[in-house]
């Protein structure tokens, strides 16, 4: 019967075996190239996302943030900026604890709750459709990728090139609000601040006001009941300070409480624990000494503003 069958089954079986081998070899070739392919593809689609973002930026953002992202004074701050990209720059000043990328994404998506009284009267609008803006989520992601792609060029900027456009709420003294200061090393920044404080010693009253001690502590006897929600009342500090901790003088105790607030917490305030721990950095040694003496002075003058 097989005589009738014109082509040899052996030839067919050989074709089958040969094809299986070819198929397996080609699949193995794909297998060994999968990792580099996936890497190249990942970069490819990140690149395309940046391309999409570039068009969106040119169409929607360049009018305020400048065609090169260098910002326009009075309109919108620079993004292609050393200050914007460095860790001690924008995200530190706004108190953002996440990554800059998240900050950019959120700001584009939901806008910025900007102070209208700042030097940037125009408020960043919302862009994501979820928050009432005109864009889709993927467009916001593309736009973020484009803005973040300035990182390399921004971080290579010299102080002259950096547009440096911060908001008003920067904590640093005005003379340090520039890229030159941001470019210093940590030690150099500390030395520069120390030198600045030595030049600008504030009185204890000024410190009490500018560091907002009054927000939690109180200096007046008749407000004992009212104050003390967040921090102990200091009207009678001179009377109790030296007996608080055994083996410490009143001066030592108050000094220690300013520079490391968690060292001795008055019992009823254990739950609160909000005293900032950075006064050792923000105040010079002389200022702290003067503040301690002023707090322990039974005859100190209390300013009227309270």
């Amino acid at each position: 019967m097989h005589r009738l069958y014109t082509r040899s089954p052996i030839a067919k079986i050989m074709w089958g075996i040969l094809s299986s081998l070819v198929g397996i070899i080609v699949l193995l070739m794909v297998l060994v190239s999968e990792n580099p392919r996936m890497e190249a593809q990942t970069l490819n689609w990140e690149g395309r996302s940046i391309e999409n973002g570039a068009k969106l930026f040119a169409d929607n953002c360049a009018t305020c943030h400048g065609p090169n992202g260098q910002g326009l004074l009075g309109r919108a701050p620079g993004l292609n900026s050393y200050y914007f990209f460095t860790e001690t720059g924008r995200i530190k000043d706004v108190g953002w604890v996440g990554t800059l990328e998240d900050y950019v994404l959120l700001t584009i998506a939901a806008g910025r709750p900007s102070k209208t009284e700042s030097q940037w009267p125009e408020v960043m609008p919302t862009w994501d459709g979820k928050f009432g803006g005109p864009m889709r989520g993927d467009q916001v992601v593309d736009l973020t990728a484009y803005v973040m792609n300035w990182e390399a060029s921004a971080l290579a900027q010299t102080p002259d090139e950096d547009p440096f456009q911060p908001f008003d709420d920067v904590i640093l003294p005005a003379e340090f609000q520039n890229t030159a200061y941001l470019l210093l090393s940590e030690e150099e920044q500390a030395a520069a601040l120390e030198e600045y404080r030595a030049r600008n010693i504030r009185s204890p009253q000024e410190i009490w006001q500018s560091e907002a001690c009054f927000a939690c502590h109180n200096l007046e006897v008749n407000q004992v009941d009212y104050a003390g929600q967040n921090g102990p009342n200091f009207a009678d500090l001179h009377e109790r300070a030296d007996s608080r901790v055994a083996g410490m003088t009143a001066e030592e105790y108050v000094y220690e409480s300013i520079v490391s607030p968690r060292a001795f917490v008055v019992e009823t305030y254990e739950e609160v624990g909000q005293m900032p721990e950075n006064f050792a950095e923000k105040l010079s040694e002389d200022e702290i000494q003067a503040l301690v003496a002023w707090l322990l002075d039974p005859d100190r003058e209390v300013t009227e503003e309270e």
Binding site: M1, H2, L4, Y5, T6, R7, P9, K12, I13, W15, G16, S19, S20, V22, G23, V26, L27, M29, V30, L31, V32, S33, E34, N35, P36, R37, M38, E39, A40, Q41, T42, L43, N44, W45, E46, G47, R48, I50, E51, N52, A54, K55, A58, N68, G137, D138, Y146, N149, W150, E151, A152, S153
Partner: protein, 547 residues
């Protein structure tokens, strides 16, 4: 016989051999080891033929005939096109189910899932490319199968209904392929399907058309609901419907037998089921070996084509606000798009395709000529060829080549840097685009061969439209390439011209290109055969030589 008794009688080895043979016979649904060996050695079966048993006892073979006529087993009679269609449907089912693992049918996720599949899933791109290639091949093979049956007159009595179900299967294959088109949720998908469903709107009366359109899209425009509906059509409804009609179709094929070559039987006779004993080719083992080896060869072919030659496109994410220039339907609907250019939506989109479909299904009932022989069917064969040529012409009219010229300036930029896809600018890539201003009215001494070619193409395009359009005089093309960001170049295309009255015109278009972008077939092994080795793609060769 109990095991103990068996051992006592045959000894341990003998009993084990008998047991093994028993298991073998059960697995093959009736072929014992000795018969299997005789099959391999090419010896004829005993009588009664034990090789018929798997057909009556096993489920898988019960739908296959036990023997074929020798004439229909020749490759050149059927080209195995029906088997190949079924095989491709199985390939589509397997790759499709695997792809479903990484896909969610929602506009928020679909496109991102595609990118995730391409960037993070080993063999992800392979699966997608194979699924797409298999789908397009299935449309082609099913069509060829129909052409073959037409040319051999196989639709004639008693196989009219087989032909009818075959036409239904073709329609389902087209719809299956088309419904999968939307799922990647890119511009290509979105606009092809928007145009496709808008044809349904032309069905009269208006209330019916609107309702059909609304049911398909799930809303006046395609959105989350439309995507979900197309997804369900694609993965559930249409495959199930196709499987149902496949079995009807295949039952008819087996029931009437495959029609013999026309000159082997008298005109008006059908002897496919009266196979003389000496013309019988049994399924086991000959046809099984033939079909298995054929499908193995096809699998290898499909793998090779997928890995080296084919790439499923993925354009920008779907944007309902912007229609890309030169939106096209899938190639198997080019003919429909061509018709839509010359007639209105109702005639071209509903009436003509409807009439064509009914005609196609009715061919066996209209063709009263009893002969299946070519020399008796001159009218039918000429008509078939004419229909094929007309389809090809309509299809050509469906491409952007025909009657969709935009303004010359727009077309020039589209030629060298299209909105979607690559174009020569993206093919040569970031590294071959030097910064500077490049004008078509000046000659540059560039040492970069790739860039030289781009400037040449740019010149040719400007020159072509200058000669073709009297309203496009003294045109100058200016390409300005600037560094926009680290690793990102900005390509500003500017065309200036004067119209017939001497009024100056100007057109500007800006694109960006990132150095890591791979716009052409620069993925995986495809660059080996498709020509262009991108600079950004040295990582593969690097990895292979152990860098």
């Amino acid at each position: 016989m109990g095991l103990q008794e068996n051992i006592r009688e045959k000894g341990v080895l003998g009993a084990a051999a008998a047991q093994a043979d028993d298991v073998f016979t059960r697995l093959t649904a009736g072929i014992d080891a000795g018969e299997f060996r005789r099959m391999l050695q090419g010896e004829p079966p005993g009588r009664p033929n034990p090789r018929l048993k798997p057909h009556s006892e096993g489920f898988l073979l019960h739908i296959k005939p036990t023997y074929y006529h020798e004439s229909v087993t020749r490759f050149t009679h059927t080209y195995r096109l029906g088997l190949l269609s079924t095989y491709l449907f199985i390939v589509e089912t397997i790759t499709g189910i695997l792809l479903m693992i990484w896909y969610a049918p929602s506009p928020e996720r679909a496109y991102t899932d595609m990118i995730l599949l391409l960037t993070n899933i080993p063999f992800g791109q392979f699966l997608r490319d194979m699924h797409r290639l298999g789908a397009e091949a299935m449309v082609a093979i099913v069509t060829l199968h129909m052409v073959r049956c037409y040319l051999t007159g196989s639709y004639k009595p008693p196989r009219q209904f087989t032909w009818f179900t075959g036409v239904l299967l073709l329609v389902m294959t087209l719809f299956l392929s088309f419904s999968g088109y939307l799922l990647p949720w890119d511009q290509l998908a979105f606009w092809a399907v928007t145009i496709g469903t808008s044809m349904a709107e032309a069905v009269p009366p208006a209330v019916v058309g609107e309702t059909v359109n609304l049911l398909a899209r799930g809303a006046p425009d395609i959105g989350a609901n439309g995507l979900l509906r197309f997804y369900l059509l694609h993965v559930l409804f249409l495959p199930l419907l196709l499987i149902l009609f496949f079995f009807v179709h295949y039952y008819k094929v087996v029931h009437f037998g495959i029609s013999l070559p026309a000159d082997e039987e008298e005109v008006g006779e059908d002897t496919a089921n009266r196979v003389p004993a000496d013309k019988r080719v049994y399924y086991l083992p000959d046809v099984l070996v033939d079909e298995t080896s054929f499908m193995t060869v096809m699998t290898a072919l499909l793998i090779v084509l997928t890995v080296f030659f084919f790439q499923a496109p993925l354009e920008h994410i779907a944007n309902p606000q912007s229609t890309p220039l030169h939106t096209v339907a899938p190639w198997y609907f080019y003919w429909l798009q061509g018709l839509l250019k010359i007639a209105d939506k109702f005639i071209a989109g509903v009436l003509l395709p409807g009439v064509l479909l009914v005609l196609l299904m009715a061919i066996p009932y209209l063709d009263y000529n009893p002969s299946r022989r070519g020399k008796d069917r001159k009218v039918a064969i000429v008509a078939g060829i004419v229909a094929g040529v007309v389809m090809i012409i309509w299809s050509w009219m469906g491409t952007p080549e025909y009657a969709v010229e935009g303004a010359p300036s727009v077309e020039i930029v589209q030629d060298v840097m299209p909105e979607e896809g690559s174009g020569i600018s993206r093919e040569i890539g970031y590294k071959h685009l030097p910064l500077g201003v490049w004008r078509t009215d000046e000659v540059y001494d560039v040492h970069d061969h790739e860039f030289e070619e781009l400037l040449h193409e740019f010149n040719i395009a400007v020159d072509y439209y200058r000669r073709a359009d009297p309203d496009f005089n003294a045109p100058i093309g200016i390409l300005t390439i600037t560094q926009d960001q680290p690793g990102l170049k900005k390509l500003n295309w500017e065309i200036t011209w004067f119209d017939a009255e001497g009024t100056a015109g100007e057109y500007k278009k800006t694109f960006w290109l990132h150095e890591d972008s791979l716009y052409w077939e620069q993925y995986g092994w495809k660059h080996l055969f498709l020509g262009y080795v991108a600079d950004g793609w040295n990582s593969l060769s690097g990895a292979l030589v152990g860098e």
